[in-house]
Symmetry: C2
Subunit: 256 residues, 2 copies
């Protein structure tokens, strides 16, 4: 009996960004549990594990199912994209462990396998916009009230942190990203660099840089991460016309 459960971060998608620990746990797994698109990101495994596909919203059920499967003696991997600890499945699994009687899952050896999160991958593509103090905020108001999101945007806007926005927009949440940008515009100049990165590390990768003033949400979706610079974030174009964005580690004496 193995009774292992790993919540594995695949990273953004590219196999070159998947850690050896993630690869090893996938190779050893008898069962994979996950949202369909993430299961398909895994790629072929030999022998193929049993795949248990879940809808993206059924996080608590997915977590309990995976824990139960591991308790039954299986070697289970819950698949996440990016880092499972950032707006992803690690929290759901640990919360489910907490919710049950301690004895129920005493046999399960639980491991969280970290991965490269979307903001880090997007940042790497354009330079180093996260090189100084920053925050990661989810714009989804499915699990938290929108006034909390607005309050946080105001606080980090005033504190001049670089902001990485996860889950920026979806069919059911069409206006939140524009509203978030509007709030940040009240704290930062129109020329502040913004990075819009979709599907980084996947075949359809598209990364563009714009400014807070010129930003539109036209090509953003749930697979996009948006990074809004601070007042010290700079953009420039190299000899080949490629745009670079970075936030210096040095912060001026007179804060903006």
């Amino acid at each position: 009996m193995t009774s292992r459960l790993a919540v594995v971060g695949l990273g953004p998608g590219a196999v070159e960004w998947r850690t050896p620990e993630a690869t090893a746990r996938l190779a050893a797994a008898t069962d994979l549990v996950g949202y369909g698109p993430y299961l398909r990101m895994v790629g072929p495994l030999d022998p193929p594990p049993v795949q248990h596909e879940f809808d993206n919203r059924e996080e608590a059920e997915r977590a309990r199912f995976a824990l139960d499967l591991a308790a039954d003696g299986r070697d289970v991997v819950v698949v996440s994209s990016g880092d499972p600890g950032v707006f992803a499945m690690a929290t759901a699994v640990v919360e489910e462990l907490h919710r049950q009687e301690p004895a129920r899952y005493a046999a399960v050896e639980l491991t969280i396998v970290p991965g490269i999160t979307a903001a880090a991958a997007a940042a790497a593509r354009v330079g180093a916009p996260l090189g100084h103090d920053f925050c990661c905020l989810s714009l989804s108001d499915v699990l938290k009230p929108w006034p909390v999101v607005e309050r946080r945007l105001g606080a980090v806007g005033a504190a001049d942190l670089v902001v990485a926005l996860y889950n920026p927009i979806s069919r059911h949440r069409p206006w939140q990203l524009s509203r978030a940008i509007e709030i940040l515009r009240t704290y930062r100049p129109a020329g502040t660099p913004v990075v819009v990165a979709r599907d980084v590390g996947r075949p359809d990768e598209k990364v563009r840089t714009t400014t807070l003033g010129a930003f539109t949400d036209a090509d953003a979706d749930m697979r996009t991460v948006v990074i809004v610079g601070s007042t010290t974030t700079r953009e420039f174009t190299d000899a080949h016309g490629r745009a670079w964005v970075y936030t210096p580690r040095t912060y001026p004496d007179a804060p903006a």
Copy 2:
């Protein structure tokens, strides 16, 4: 002539957390540039590249040296621990590229290779404290004025973000960590979980959980990351006495 420069994140230390892209760039390199302890984290390479060791503080010089070496036709890797885009060398290299005439480094193909950052690794060891909105702040006041740090701690304290503190303490900055904790205590209950993680993914790894009320900086140093929970972060102990910390994705209707 190769003329390549990669700023590579080794991840926290363990080879199982180093991405294949990082491994490939290290294997192809003619020259490694870095702070001594990071160069020694790389491990043996065959054939061994030339190693150029720098002091930790000489970031701009190190960046220029690496760019010059690449412009001379070498295949250069600047070595960072964790993610080079988070309080590390990617910013220094991109800033140096910006500072010079575009033509000077036109031949250099620059790539930032992301890695698992220290906060993500620390989080994975205890569960998922970064599962909801969070920020990463450096407590070093070498490159930014301390009042900026205090203002940011107040803002993220009030906004109830989970806080990951990088560069929390050093021989030359002995009081800043205690002061930061004191500020966060004014916003959060004494029972708020705190994770103190040192050398995660290295042989001397030490991770402990405590609370905001009981926190002391006794065993923290520059190789430590400190994660301070929000008002919703929870801690519990499993059937084997192991402590888990997580921040649920759900945020209550009435914010604290």
